[in-house]
Point group: C2
Chain length 157, copies 2
DNA sequence: GTCGTTGCTGCAACATGTTGCGATAACAGC
DNA sequence: GCTGTTATCGCAACATGTTGCAGCAACGAC
């Protein structure tokens, strides 16, 4: 009997912190939020908003999109997730973002790459010094033609 | 009589070039495209896609969104317009883009500023040299906190 | 355990595009 | 002017979110 407890307790512990932080802001711990956090716990890397709605529905089919998106807003406020935008401007969420990073996307092949902090360091510093503008690096998505697509384009032209 | 001709001819001339370029690609000159070009001729600076649908409908109420957006794609292919994305990821069109330029947007106040070419020159050069990635500067939108909102944030904290 | 406050949910409507498809019409050739 | 080819149109359905609102329920207080 007690042999099964630890797993459940570990899951409880994982959520206890979130619950505490919600309560500290006067916000509430609801079944819907628990389900979304369960989904997020199983995510590695990036997920789109639609995908999160989908996965949440697999656990609880009564889930509605508005609740999911509103909860994601709340969790972003807590720093548990962050979002940027993919090719069609769709939301892409990062779970437990370790370090801020932007993305490079190529509409030609649909490819996507993470941007290392030092690749945008000068841009960030330049805009801060020149305009007092603080770039949201984790929200940054730069579109353009990747090396492979550029080569293919040259061959065609 | 002939005194009224020039204006009409000027308008005809303005479109003759577009028509010619469409035909050169095997594409067609239709009443719907003429109306959209009439709308675009009256635009200075940026417009959202929804706004273009709206204005086109004011000239021809039977206009449908799909035709407007598909025509905008075609005109973008001709280089007559280009688009980037605003705060909510919505399309913003530039008419007759003189020089490529990106944008800075601040979710705090909704402000938007144009990016001078030299402000992104190093970023563009760095990604080209380091990855062979060619940034679409006219599509670039950088989100962050503007100087005014940063000051307001400091005061609050 | 009950109560009151108020944050949260689910619904319905809406906003902004996108896509598949059958009917229409622009254009070149005659 | 006709005719044939095929790009384009309009419609309907869909994708991805967002927002207003009325009722529900999480939570702290007692
Ligand atoms: Mn965003
Ligand atoms: Mn785009
Ligand atoms: Zn590519
Ligand atoms: Zn601002």
């Amino acid at each position: 009997m007690t042999g099964q407890r630890p797993a459940a307790e570990r899951a409880t512990d994982r959520w206890a912190d979130v619950r505490r932080r919600l309560r500290a802001r006067g916000l509430r711990w609801t079944p819907q939020r628990r389900v979304l956090l369960e989904v997020l716990a199983g995510v590695d890397g990036h997920v789109t908003g639609a995908e999160l709605v989908e996965r949440t529905r697999r656990i609880d089919p009564t889930t509605t999109p508005s609740t999911v998106y509103r909860t994601l807003d709340v969790l972003e406020g807590l720093g548990l997730v962050s979002h940027s935008h993919g090719l069609e401007g769709r939301q892409e969420f990062h779970v437990n973002p370790r370090a801020d990073h932007g993305h490079l996307v190529c509409p030609g092949c649909g490819g996507s790459w993470e941007l290392a902090p030092d690749e945008v360091a000068e841009l960030v510093a330049g805009l801060r010094d020149g305009r007092g503008f603080e770039v949201a690096v984790d929200h940054l998505t730069i579109e353009g033609r990747c090396a492979d697509c550029a080569r293919a384009g040259m061959a065609r032209a």
